[in-house]
């Protein structure tokens, strides 16, 4: 792969942070956050490969080639044809934001979709994913360019989803902040597209769900072949709030994701549903975390991976139940289906249960397609490739069935398209 040896002393120039901030029209508070993140990276020390997060992927893989703060803004990219009912839609690319649409109902309800550089919310940035989260999060915090704030006021329910489309360029450092006011209810889908050979993406998304909010957040990655990218998407879920995180990974050459939630208030609930389909020589490294900090919180995770060709997948799933989180429940299931003798998958559950009085379980499997299933479908006239497609589709659809209808249908279509190109 494109990774450089981790032993070489890594260098990272961040010489244009102030200029970037000024050009984007940011206030002093935001620049201060960037400067603090830059300080964390000086000098740059890459994480130890022995640490669980980097066991399967070299950190150097994701290091930008040049100074990420110097990247020149490009075109935002073409708008896309809206073929569905949306509350709002926005396009983020080339370091800029274009709000495509805010529906009349959403606008009347006070929904805000705006340029994160100028939104004046520095006090809210980094609360869920602080710059100290990791070196890539620090790079993003210091040098992100092109960001969107999604704010849904307290008590507002949106019937239709908010769709964000993020278009990858040669080097993209997008930043997304979703604020779900108390008791609000909506779905937001962050779709990653574009990129080309050796394009790099380091993205960070923060979702803040205030008390009793109900947020469905979807992260759909379908980059072009060749993209090397790392996405961090984390939610902080307050008392009585419910967050559903969905993850669908299809594209890129090397993709690492860190998706998770902190269950910060009593009675918070998080469900994470994910599917990943890899082929050829793709490398996926997915990490999820459900951090239970408050009592009587519940989390459930179901992540499915299907691999063809010589694709590789690593999945690490952390469940942490803090000492104060009595009465909590956490479930985790990761299943991997290998459609080729050259595909490989690993699955590592990581449980840190620091209190009694919890219910926690996990399960993981890595297996080829069951030959008895293939024979059964063949006996009904399905050719081997079609039978395999039906089985894989079903395998993934069990998980997709838990998602909101629109997202489910969209991901189903992506799965079907992917299956027909295999």
């Amino acid at each position: 792969m494109a990774s450089r040896p981790a032993v070489a002393a890594p260098e990272l120039a961040l010489d244009h942070v102030a200029a970037l901030s000024r050009a984007a029209g940011e206030d002093a508070a935001l620049l201060a956050i960037r400067e603090r993140a830059r300080a964390l990276l000086t000098p740059l020390t890459l994480p130890d490969r022995a640490r669980h997060l980097w066991r399967y992927t070299s950190p150097a893989t994701f290091l930008p080639d040049g100074d990420p703060s110097a990247a020149a803004p490009g075109d935002v990219g073409p708008a896309w044809r809206l073929d569905e009912s949306l509350s709002a839609a926005a396009l983020l690319g080339g370091g800029g934001l274009r709000v495509i649409e805010i529906g009349a109902d959403a606008r009347a309800a006070g929904v805000v979709i705006e340029d994160l550089h100028r939104a004046g919310v520095a006090d809210l940035l980094g609360r869920v994913v602080p710059a100290g989260h990791g070196f890539l999060e620090a790079i993003n915090t210091a040098a992100w360019r092109g960001g969107v704030l999604v704010r849904v006021p307290a008590g507002v329910t949106l019937e239709h989803p908010i769709r964000l489309r993020l278009v990858a360029g040669a080097l993209s450092l997008p930043r997304v902040l979703v604020l779900a006011g108390e008791g609000s209810s909506f779905e937001v889908i962050e779709g990653h597209v574009g990129g080309g050979a050796a394009a790099r993406v380091i993205g960070v998304t923060e979702v803040v769900a205030e008390a009793n909010a109900n947020v469905r957040y979807g992260l759909v990655q379908r980059w072009e072949a060749g993209v090397i990218g790392h996405l961090t998407a984390r939610a902080r879920v307050a008392a009585g709030a419910h967050a559903q995180l969905s993850l669908a990974s299809f594209g890129g050459a090397e993709f690492k994701a860190d998706v998770g939630a902190v269950l910060a208030g009593e009675g918070a609930a998080v469900e994470t549903f994910g599917v990943a389909m890899g082929g050829d020589a793709q490398r996926f490294d997915h990490h999820t975390e459900h951090i239970h900090e408050a009592p009587r919180t519940t989390s459930n995770l179901d992540f499915k991976v299907a691999l063809t060709g010589a694709a590789r997948s690593a999945y690490t799933g952390m469940i942490r139940i803090a000492p104060g989180a009595a009465g909590s429940e956490a479930y985790q299931e990761n299943r991997n289906l290998l459609l080729s003798g050259h595909a490989r998958a690993e699955s590592i559950p990581e449980l840190e249960i620091l209190t009694d009085d919890v219910r926690c379980s996990h399960g993981a499997t890595v297996s080829p397609i069951d030959p008895e299933q293939l024979f059964y479908l063949a006996s009904r006239g399905l050719a081997p490739m079609q039978a395999a497609r039906v089985i894989v589709y079903g395998f993934l659809d069990q998980t997709l069935g838990r998602l909101p209808q629109t997202t489910r249908e969209r991901i189903q279509a992506l799965v079907a398209a992917r299956l027909h190109t295999e």
């Binding site: 399905l382 050719a383 079903g394």
Partner: protein, 254 residues
């Protein structure tokens, strides 16, 4: 059933090995359109192996010839046999989680008929056949065989038989694990398929299915061979006397 008809299915000199072990030791059969044959035999006699290997299960090595409508299909993979009109109702149908009965059947019907069936037309036909089999319409949306009871699985096998309208169907122990009501429903489906000119080979351990489905020919299968063939009266004789009197030694080593 037409006495002058050519067999819709025949096999000659069929031997089946599982690894080093020969399980089926020379079987000849000929089934006419609409004709029902029953293969009866004790557990472990190789009946299920015969049914699965005739369909082309990859774990079994079959020698001899298998013909469908006069065409030699011995070497064809199971999906091609199915598209030529052959069907196997499984003794233990496997679950395919995430795939609904309706979507699976639509894919199968399209594959076997060689053309996509319009959704509305398919749905209408599916619901009609489900009603014939006294199945709740909600079944169409359930994942195939996933969490089904034994009886539900067998009904869904017969539902597939009726939807796919094969020329020849192997039914492997379709009567096992059924209560009497389910048995009657399944028998009704089998009879409907037979009246539709499907030739059938019922593999069964018990005689009770034959109270509701009347076979034209009964074969007794023991130790990998057909040791006796006869009319329906043979089934009744087996019911009364069991299989012991037909042990190869007892009949002089057939």
């Amino acid at each position: 059933m037409n006495e002058n008809a050519r067999p819709v299915f025949s096999c000659n000199g069929v031997h089946v090995r599982i690894g080093e072990k020969e399980v089926v030791k020379g079987v000849d059969l000929a089934v006419l359109p609409g004709e029902v044959h029953a293969i009866m035999g004790p557990n472990g006699s190789g009946k299920s192996t015969l049914a699965n290997s005739l369909m082309g299960h990859p774990a079994y090595a079959l020698t001899g010839t298998v013909e469908l409508g006069g065409e030699d299909v011995t070497a064809l993979p199971p999906d091609e046999k199915a598209r030529r009109g052959m069907f196997l109702a499984f003794q233990y149908p496997v679950a395919v989680p995430g795939v609904t009965v309706a979507s699976f059947l639509r894919a199968a019907v399209s594959a076997v008929r060689g053309a996509d069936v319009p959704v509305r037309e398919f749905r209408k036909e599916l619901l009609a056949r489900m009603e014939d089999l006294e199945m709740d319409p909600g079944f169409a949306g359930r994942y195939l065989n996933d969490g089904f009871s034994g009886g539900e699985k067998k009904r869904v096998e017969i539902l597939q038989l009726l939807m796919l309208k094969p020329r020849f169907a192997l039914l492997d122990e379709t009567d096992s694990g059924l209560d009497i009501d389910a048995l009657k429903v399944v028998a009704k489906g089998i009879n409907a398929a037979a009246s539709n000119d499907t030739g059938m080979l019922l593999v069964t351990h018990y005689q009770r299915l034959l109270n509701y489905v009347h076979p034209h020919v009964v074969h007794v299968f023991m130790d990998g061979r057909i040791v006796r063939s006869g009319g329906p009266e043979l089934a009744l004789e087996l019911e009364e006397r069991g299989y012991d009197w037909l042990e190869p030694a007892a009949v002089g080593g057939v």
